[in-house]
Amino acid sequence: MGKKTLFDKIWDSHVVKSIEGGPDVLYIDQQYIHEVTSPQAFNGLRVRGIPVFRPGRTLATADHNIPTIDQDKEIRDELSRNQVNTLAENCKAFGIQYFGLNHHKNGIVHVIGPELGYTRPGMTIVCGDSHTSTHGAFGAIAFGIGTSEVEMVLATQCILQPKPKKMRITINGSLKKGVTAKDVIMYIISQISTSGATGYFVEYTGPVITGLSMEGRMTICNMSIEMGARGGLIAPDEVTFRYFKELPSVPEDFDWNSLILKWKELRSDQDAEFDRELAFNGDLIKPMITFGTNPGMGIAIDDSIPVPEDVAGDDNASFNKALAYMGFIPGMKLEGHPVDYVFLGSCTNGRIEDLRAFAKIVKGRKKAPNITALIVPGSKAVERQAIAEGIDKILNNAGFELRQPGCSSCLAMNDDKIPAGKYAVSTSNRNFEGRQGPGARTLLASPLTAAAAAITGKITDPREFID
């Protein structure tokens, strides 16, 4: 029987044409766009004198460049303001639905797509942003593309893509207290490196994965790109179906009964073959933190930074450069090291469960005086829900402030930059040199670890705060 993986089933059913010796012409069900990677794509359409082929299959938001306070006022930075205005004009000219700044459905693109019911199992989804892999949590093929490809999809609703190889990652066992989805994906990347899955599309499975909520699954799929994977996906199940049943609103075309019948068939066949299989033991995973300048340079929070002799491969030059940038030395422990900033947010960990987790730890406690905190909800909907649950009050009482939605400090295109030399425990997805601001020193971690650091002012094992 069968022999097809879930990835095969979705991919193959979307191939319009296979080019001999070349890529496939793949039909795209849903494209998301934002202000940074779209302007040149729209310019291209104008130069060619053509319209958007299927405007109803594109959804736009402003998220990367926008401020996270005073959103009701005009954007102060001229280039940012210009870029956001350009997107608004382009959407109007080409007939594309746009949830701009201050719209009640606005937010980070990979947060709003799922929460508004646009992202669905079995779809092919693209966006000019590498963390598009997030949507794979719903059993969709979702991947990041460049601006030229954004133009391609706007023009023809198709993209030219070679079919990647398939990897399955199974996480067995179960997660211990204080260990979150973020720690799981950070652990995997630390084991296989930032190029460990290049050329592959990953399917995640195993009891640890199926035991995660949809938000946890989104965190996992989100960081697939950080190990070089083309994307990541998780087969839909009852957890997925319940998510859709509980959504406050869905687009008009959402026909629940016929959709659920199709969705139940979306799984890899029993005897499906993957090009590569990896397995990990969830019992061994501890809260993680990065020490270097790529997401693979991570250790368990109570571990020591490796010494050059123990670093796989011969790449001592990169290792030493990373440590010099971070101001760390080989073999040192990170626990107890002072921290300056804490950032809770991003498409990785900016949803309501992340805010709840953070609030639970800081409730009844006080922010450490040496910490500057940026608490950024992933969307207006997340912001509203946080307020409805009283999370904003819990935060205020502890000395924190809930900001407004946006990508914010993750890549610091707006004013939320971490100053040079300062240490930031961040729930985002990249710790490259200068990612959060020139000279900024990023320590990637889960919302629990970020909360613990915000209270103590130093790198702290979050399990100390969990009973």
Partner: protein, 198 residues
């Protein structure tokens, strides 16, 4: 729309013997606010080329005047990280037409091929040899032949085959545009839609 053709490239090379060079280094996020494709070359490796005051950093290899050319030779996993196509525009606008490495991140490789920037993948050993050759003798000329898929050093006779997708190869050599190709398939796409979404 016709694009610049690329088939034979003979040039000096600029070495960048660093691994895992990510797209945040190639073009920092603060430069992504542009609404056109021009002018990115100025900000290529911005924070490695210039210090905070805007002065050239003497110790960064791209600032070393003994190196020049249209070919960038870089350590493995060049272009990892974000999908920003702006990284390719920056490399191309600076003047490079090919990047040689032992490994490229997928998205960067795709973006490069979509913009007439040729990614050349060679074995690690060949790469290291090439890097030391160039660093010993900055005037070394390298020849890249897209049609025959070879990279060679005419002065020494060393050469190696490199892989490239046949469709992309033809697009590069002929200066063809992917979107023109897809626009030609509009009817096929429309009938696919009516079949699948009946």
């Amino acid at each position: 729309m016709p694009k610049e053709k690329l088939n034979i490239l003979e040039s000096r090379c600029v070495p960048l013997p660093l691994e895992n060079v990510d797209t945040d280094q190639i073009i920092p996020a603060r430069f992504l606010s542009a609404t056109s494709r021009e002018g990115f070359g100025e900000n290529l490796f911005r924070d490695w080329r210039y210090d905070k005051s805007g002065n050239l950093k003497q110790d960064f290899i791209l600032n070393d005047p003994s190196y020049s050319g249209k070919i960038l030779v870089a350590g493995l996993n060049f272009g990892c990280g974000s999908s920003r196509e702006h990284a390719v525009w920056a490399v191309y606008d600076y003047g490079f037409r090919a990047v040689v490495s032992s490994f490229f991140a997928d998205i960067f490789k795709n973006n490069a091929l979509n913009n007439g920037l040729l990614p050349v993948v060679v074995p690690e050993k060949f790469l290291q040899n090439l890097l030391s050759m160039i660093q010993k003798n900055p005037g070394t000329i390298v020849r890249i032949d897209v049609e025959n898929q070879t990279i060679s050093v005419p002065a020494t006779g060393q050469s190696h085959f490199f892989e490239i997708n046949p469709y992309k190869k033809e697009c590069l050599i002929k200066g063809l545009d992917d979107i023109d190709y897809l626009l030609g398939l509009k009817d096929l796409i429309a009938s696919f839609e009516s079949e699948k979404y009946r």
